[in-house]
Symmetry: C2
């Protein structure tokens, strides 16, 4: 199966499996989700990323031992991805790089939206000159803000602003936007293509994973 | 629908639609295939690429006029991709860049196989330091060579050699390998992940295309 790493701590199976459910429903593969220990607020600055990095590596190694064939770091900043890739013998997909490569393949100018002040380094680094602009919807600093009617309106406004500045495709730099279904809102309201990091990581992970099970009809 | 451009001339609907059929079967989308005029031998050097480029642009423009929502240049060298992207208002996917971005997303060292002397510039350029090595199977200069038992053996040998040199994923730099089903041969014989350019272009094109038809149950 695919091993999916959430980079925060939760006791709720429902929350833990939010990203995995998107991938299971969209690509029909088995996904096992696990979260790193003792970090309920996840990664929100350099210090918390430093603290999380070795936990992500240890968790990934244990998921390989438990039989996962592909790992996913389900966070748009791709934390600890190089360290984990050096520590396991199976492929590791990151949400940020997966979304960026999907956006690059379209050849279109990319507008990026997230909840942090700046785009994750992996995203701006990979997109390079294809990045039109990064925007945080006004007043939105966490994904629950987007769930309010006003937050939804601000997210649509931010996407429209990116389009007005030349973006032909919108890329999310926040996996939280995936779980609240923002991609479909923008697709329907603005008729714009959206690259969703959870969909993108699932695309690559399932494509690799299904190659490991060609002899097995049950994935 | 998706408009798929073959960069050679054929009167055979069966040959014309080889790549489109792979995409239809794998992703469940409509694909219309067309080939450029007066070039039965396709692109095999700089001169023939120069001659083909304006035909690819004109064909793409006509397919946009005929209602295509996404275009695919189904050749691993991505011929005329920049010119076509500047000439139409819909996304243009190239087989070479699509396969390369899919390979990059895995984070794995990439071995590339094709039938030309060197890897297409777009492939080696995008892969950069992730490219372990490019190989042409011994004695193989066109895709029909691979169809013989000896050609098949040489293709497996080439892939094994790339693996021995450190490749953890094999990328094809020739769409002809797709139509003969070489990816599944290598997956089964060598238990290696294979990035097939027709599958990769279909992945991105169908993902973009399906976003344009969210209100329409028939794709």
């Amino acid at each position: 199966m695919i091993g999916l790493i959430r980079v925060f701590t939760t006791d709720s199976m429902d929350v833990l499996e939010q990203h995995g459910r998107v991938i299971i429903e969209k690509y029909g593969v088995h996904v096992m989700s696990r979260s790193i220990p003792d970090q309920p607020l996840g990664i929100y600055d350099d210090v918390t990323e430093e603290i999380a990095n070795p936990k992500i590596v240890e968790l990934g190694k244990s998921m390989e031992r438990d039989g996962c064939k592909v790992l996913v770091i389900s966070c748009a900043a791709d934390p600890a991805i190089d360290a984990l890739r050096q520590s396991v013998s199976i492929p590791v997909i990151g949400a940020g790089s997966a979304a960026s490569y999907s956006a690059l393949a379209t050849g279109l100018p990319v507008g990026v939206m997230g909840i942090t002040e700046e785009a994750p380094a992996v995203v701006s680094g990979l997109l390079g000159s294809r990045l039109v602009k990064y925007l945080r919807p006004e007043g939105v600093t966490n994904t629950t803000d987007i769930l309010t009617p006003s937050g939804r309106e601000k997210a649509i406004e931010a996407a429209q602003s990116l389009i007005d500045q030349g973006a032909k495709v919108i890329q999310f730099a926040c996996t939280g936007f995936s779980t609240i279904g923002l991609a479909d809102v923008l697709r329907n309201e603005l008729r714009i293509s959206v690259i969703d990091p959870v969909e993108a990581e699932g695309l690559y992970a399932s494509s690799l994973y299904l190659q490991t099970v060609t002899d097995n009809p049950i994935h």
